[in-house]
Amino acid sequence: MFARLNHIAICTDHYAINAKFYEALFGLKTAKNPRPARAVVVSDGYVGMNIIPRREGRTSGLDHFGLEVEDLEEARARIDKFDSSIKLLKRPPVRPFAAYSAHDPDTNIFDLSEKKMQKDIYSEAREETVRKFSHFALRTRHAERCAEFYSEVFELNLLNKKAGDPNFYLSDGRMTLAVLQWNMDDYFGMDPQRLGPDHIGFKVESIDALKDDLEDLTGQNPLMRSRPLGYGDEGKARLGLFQSVPLNDYHLTDIEGVYIGASEE
């Protein structure tokens, strides 16, 4: 494949404990040479997730994803051909993943990198964990146009979907990028959610085992609790929208409320 979706970033008010949650529940591994003041980076052996302390002026939550491409100059040329108004920005060299940041036609932000530019967890040879990232979902106003962008520029393969599903699913062969259609009408029974990243997904060996582990984890360490979903009319409306994405069999959150969908291998 020309591109691999192998980077995810969350900004968080509690970055250390949130990283422990992903380590404990999903078995993700940390970098061999951590830089604890900047962020915690955890990996399933394919995707690295940077859990970043929320800095001033920023929001907390699922923030962006990253693509590793075979040829950065080629990617730049294709982006320019698709829409010359989209600009790339070179990043400060301290980043372990990103060489550039860019955005799709709806201003959803992603990082771009080449294999040879990567550091830390992104350059280490790693065994894959049992529980693995499966997808990154974003909710955007022009889903079809954005899906075309990721397909044409990064050669992600459009996957089949059911008739009437307004969303688009693109694969790098391992990870899926779900481009979900954002509509104001979907938020009738709840607060409108902002455009952008929506949830992450995991493939697990067993949903029942994951549920058991979550129960045990919260019992061992009450700081590592997932948020209750579906409480009250508004909670039901939020959960209903999350459940309308046909990629997940089980729905949970991390300790700060970031949506996580899980499905069995």
Binding site: D13, H14, I52, R54, R55, E56, G57, R58, T59, S60, G61, L62, D63, H64, K87, L88, L89, K90, P92, S101, A102, H103, T107, I109, R141, W182, M184, D185, Y187, F188, G189, M190, D191, P192, Q193, R194, L195, G196, D198, H199, R227, L229, D233, E234, G235, R238, L239, F242, T253, E256, G257, V258, Y259
Partner: protein, 268 residues
């Protein structure tokens, strides 16, 4: 004016702390009838700030603003057809402010209520007497199509364009009291730091005495570190962030609440 900006919302993982911060540092008041299970609401007498507990699936931070208008039907009529991509949806009745939520052509979300409607409760119905040294004066958004969005707020809500210097890419619209600042967004703005997504950027306060405000902010933060403002600057990247904020501020002093939401402070 046809529309009056009288609502802002912040989503927070620590919403009770944040309420105390705005009460202590900015002298904002609650109505005494606040449904604390849903959110904290504080007011300067003109504008209410809802500090909402972060719910599943939402991002934390400055989230949206709201307007009370003469006629929601007129807003819907003005939006229909004229502004592709904008829209409105009716809201659950529980909200103390919002009857509808809408979005501008770039998808920036705002709440809407009609003057005198039954939806207005809590500080939005009671009013809170303003005795504060500090009052809200600005809500700032960073968005890809700033000019188009500024035109939208001017045409649909009759906000008045003001205070724009020649060559300035930012647009400032006023309802007579509050300013809505629409600032352009592009990745190039974020050189030297992480990219910030389009959307709400910062809020602004007007203070009667800047030196007294700074002294009080310092005193409170030292007395109770849970109520301390976030420091801006320090590392190389945070200096870049601080400079970006300062370059887009209208006030002479910039700070951040304990969650990191940017606050621009201007001397009256």
């Amino acid at each position: 004016m046809f529309a009056h900006i009288n609502h802002m919302a912040i989503i927070s993982n620590q919403y009770p702390y944040l309420q105390k911060y705005y009460q202590a540092v900015f002298g904002l008041e609650t109505s005494g009838r606040n449904d604390f299970e849903s959110a904290s609401v504080v007011s300067d007498g003109n504008l209410g700030l809802n500090i909402i507990p972060r719910r599943d699936g939402y991002v934390g931070g400055l989230d949206h603003f709201g307007m009370v208008v003469d006629s929601i039907a007129a807003v819907e009529e003005r939006m229909a057809g004229a502004y592709e991509g904008s829209g409105c949806v009716k809201r659950p009745a529980i909200r103390p402010f919002a009857a509808y939520s809408g979005h501008d052509p770039d998808g920036n979300v705002f709440d809407l209520a009609e003057k005198g409607s039954k939806n207005l409760r809590d500080v939005y119905a009671d009013g809170v007497e303003s005795t504060a040294n500090c009052t809200f004066n600005r809500f700032a958004i960073r968005t890809p199509n700033a000019e188009k969005c500024a035109e939208f707020y001017a045409e649909v809500f009759e906000l008045q364009l003001s205070n724009r210097k020649e060559g300035d890419p930012k647009f400032h619209l006023t309802d007579g009291t509050m300013t809505l600042s629409i600032m352009p967004w592009s990745v190039a703005i974020f050189a030297g730091m992480s990219i910030k997504r389009p959307g709400p950027d910062h809020i602004g306060f007007k203070v009667k005495d800047m030196d007294a405000f700074k002294a009080e902010e310092k005193r409170i933060g030292e007395k109770n570190t849970f109520l301390a403002s976030r420091r801006l600057g320090g590392s190389e990247e945070s200096e870049v962030r601080r400079e970006l904020f300062a370059s887009n501020a209208l006030g002479s002093y910039q700070t951040a609440d304990p969650d990191g939401t940017w606050i621009d402070v201007v001397q009256e």
